[in-house]
Amino acid sequence: MQTDWIWALIGGGLIGTAAALYLLVNGRIMGASGVVGELVDGSAGRNWAEPAAFLAGLIGVPAALAWIIGGADTHLTDALWPVLLGGVMVGLGTRLANGCTSGHGVCGISRLSLRGIVATLVYIGIGAACMLALRHGLGLI
């Protein structure tokens, strides 16, 4: 659609604004995998409330918005194996690499962090290679 990129720009701007707010006010780097991960593996310790509040907003507000606009769709595949395998890979990978699209991609690249730039190039490169192999090569996804 023609308007896709406008929404992408607006949405991206909001994502960046949220990251800037979390940094300037709370002094933290906004990374989705870090926020959830430190709650899951217990590394947040006694500082669990801040990431938990962040999560509440991250889950609650889109839920309300989706309800107002009459529903949204992730168009996630119905096949079970990519969902389970992909989920484990995303969870394990982002925690090993210490960041995902928001942490490395947005917060890292914006401060020209070498690790952030390298990680982003790697996951996008590998992602594209997987699309090529699985969609056009094997026709799996």
């Binding site: 989705a32 801040e50 507000v61 969902v83 992602g127 997987c130 996804i141």
Partner: protein
């Protein structure tokens, strides 16, 4: 207050993810499909997000977050197996499903059973990560394990056998301000050479000085060693293969400052038997 702003940041983040299309796996997979029917829209998400954040980073030097505390320190520049391997795994999982952690959470309410299963699998992966990380660290350290054994010779100077990059937190905790490398790079594998140790030391906030000693160059290394010690705003930890060279160079520099007996006693207490230096120390004390 912190919680309020954390929730607000989460809310704006979630709204941005929904509006931008990041929660739509068809769009994400379309964006990763560079070699097929490529959908460029998500590049605008990245660009739109990086811009405000780049401005925010420019405000951070020499300032404090509004609600107190400190801004994150300078990012590490260490590219290791975990960063690369983790990003490879993440890239594969992302392509497979079209979901990354943020959107997986934001779409929880409308993602259906598939979304819940993805989230459960993702949380399981995150839960397992610390174990995998420990295992990988063990493999990386194999073959060049640390031999660190901090032996104080004076209140301002301690020596140790070969240290490793992962020793830095312990060195900081012990109160040292400078790490002094007395071992030539030719003696050790790359993971233990001055560049690797120095990078780890600087990342931990320590000063790092290189002053490699061989038995031929011993005499010329005394002055640089003491210059490095004088330039440190706290105790210095010097290392070589066993700590002997670092002890000898210290002893030679003390020759004019205290009697040979006291010097030899100080290094002996640290475990270095240097009474063979007595004649040389007496000579230096006179000269």
């Amino acid at each position: 207050m912190r919680l309020l702003f954390a929730a607000l940041a989460g809310s704006i983040f979630g709204t941005g993810l929904l509006l931008s299309g990041m929660t739509d796996t068809v769009k994400v997979q379309g964006w990763l499909d560079f070699f097929g029917n490529w959908d460029p829209a998500l590049a605008f998400v990245m660009g739109g997000a990086i811009l405000p954040m780049a401005v925010a980073w420019r405000f951070t030097p020499n300032r404090q977050p509004v609600l107190g505390g400190a801004f994150p320190g300078r990012p590490s520049t260490q590219l290791d197996t975990k960063l690369i391997g983790g990003s490879v795994l993440f890239g594969m999982g992302w392509a497979l499903t079209g979901l990354c952690p943020g959107p997986a959470l934001a779409s929880l309410s409308w993602g259906g059973t598939g979304g819940l299963l993805f989230l459960a699998a993702m949380l399981a992966g995150m839960w397992a990560a610390p174990m995998v990380r420990t295992r990988l660290d063990g493999v990386a350290a194999r073959g060049y394990s640390s031999k660190m054994d901090i032996r104080p010779i004076s209140p301002a100077y301690a020596v140790s056998p070969q240290i490793a990059p992962e020793d830095m937190p312990a060195i900081v905790a012990a109160g040292f301000k400078t790490v002094l490398c007395n071992r030539p790079d030719a003696e050790v594998p790359p993971g233990l050479q001055a560049a690797a140790i120095g990078a780890a030391a600087k990342a931990a906030g320590l000063r790092f000085v290189e002053n490699p000693i061989t038995h031929q160059t011993l005499a010329q290394t005394v002055a640089p060693q003491y210059a490095a010690m004088a330039g440190s705003d706290g105790p210095v930890l010097a290392y070589c293969a066993s700590g002997t060279r670092s002890s000898i160079v210290w002893s030679l520099g003390q020759a004019k400052l205290q009697p040979a007996d006291a010097i030899i006693a100080a290094t002996a207490k640290a475990g270095y038997e240097l009474s063979g230096l007595r004649a040389q120390l007496d000579e230096l004390a006179k000269g």
